[in-house]
């Protein structure tokens, strides 16, 4: 699995790719927790542009990180989900707590 992290002004950008399901949930959760433990992260951006499939176990990982970040007043955003992934996010109600943006730059601007 390809996971790409970038820290910009205390906002962590996480770029996911490929089919994301239970087989990758633990690895994703552990990687995210490790970064959040070690770095000063105020906000989170999940860039889903390269994600081709997403199931409810991954939604659980995203929401779990939302809880951690929002506790300290931070924001979590979603960037550019593909249509089939967007539908899953919509049905899950995740957009009620994570705003969606058409690009990382716009997300960064709105968070700042």
């Amino acid at each position: 699995m390809h996971l790409d992290f970038e820290l910009k002004d205390n906002t962590l950008i996480v770029r996911l790719s490929g089919d994301m399901d239970l087989g990758k949930a633990d690895y994703l959760r552990n990687s995210l927790e490790a970064v959040l433990d070690q770095q000063q992260v105020n906000n989170l951006i999940f860039n889903l542009a390269q994600v081709t499939f997403l199931d409810s176990s991954i939604l659980g990982v995203l929401l779990g990180r939302y809880k951690r970040i929002s506790k300290k007043g931070g924001k979590v955003c979603i960037v550019e989900p593909q249509p089939q992934v967007r539908r899953i996010l919509e049905m899950s109600g995740l957009f009620q707590v994570m705003e969606e943006f058409p690009g990382e730059d716009i997300a960064l601007k709105n968070i700042g």
């Binding site: 089919d19 399901d21 087989g23 499939f53 199931d55 176990s57 939604l59 659980g60």
Partner: protein, 149 residues
């Protein structure tokens, strides 16, 4: 309705097999004229059911088996996903949106299965495993839900 094809798949309860199971069922289903979006929906439903067997049924133990039976008629795919795991105490409750016995999870698995397939039936008893039966027609319509305990 006369079936035109049939397959049975059995595999270990490891998370890597969630992807294997959904690709296999989608490859089988693609013998009917499903749209790509239909196939995506079938993939989500299979992933959720198989994921549940691994996470809930077998509590992540990797050395148990999950079975999938799939049947095609001229216009419908029926899928049965079966584990011999711990079973479900209260199926009606389990089917409710946002209900989960696991704090880390969202309780959306059955919601997705219900939304993406045309019918969903769950047969389960504590200690006796779980059988999820779902079907989807080509050129689908409104979902039906039924429970059995």
């Amino acid at each position: 309705m006369q079936f035109i094809n049939q397959m049975k798949l059995k595999f270990l309860s490891i998370p890597a097999n969630v992807a294997f199971a959904r690709v296999t069922v989608a490859a089988f289903a693609s013998q009917l004229d499903y749209t790509l979006s239909d196939l995506e929906e079938i993939k989500v439903a299979v992933s959720e059911a198989v994921g549940n067997s691994i996470v809930h049924g077998y509590d992540q133990a990797p050395d148990y088996y999950i079975e999938i039976f799939a049947t095609l008629t001229a216009d419908t795919l029926e899928i049965r996903i079966k584990d011999d795991g711990k079973g479900i105490e209260n199926v009606e409750k389990a089917l409710q949106p946002a209900f989960s016995t696991d704090a880390e999870r969202l309780g959306l698995g059955f919601v997705f299965m219900h939304s993406f397939m045309d019918s969903l039936k769950v047969e389960s008893q504590p200690g006796n495993g779980t059988l999820v039966i779902m079907s989807k027609r080509v050129g689908a319509s409104i979902a039906q839900i039924s429970t059995e305990q």
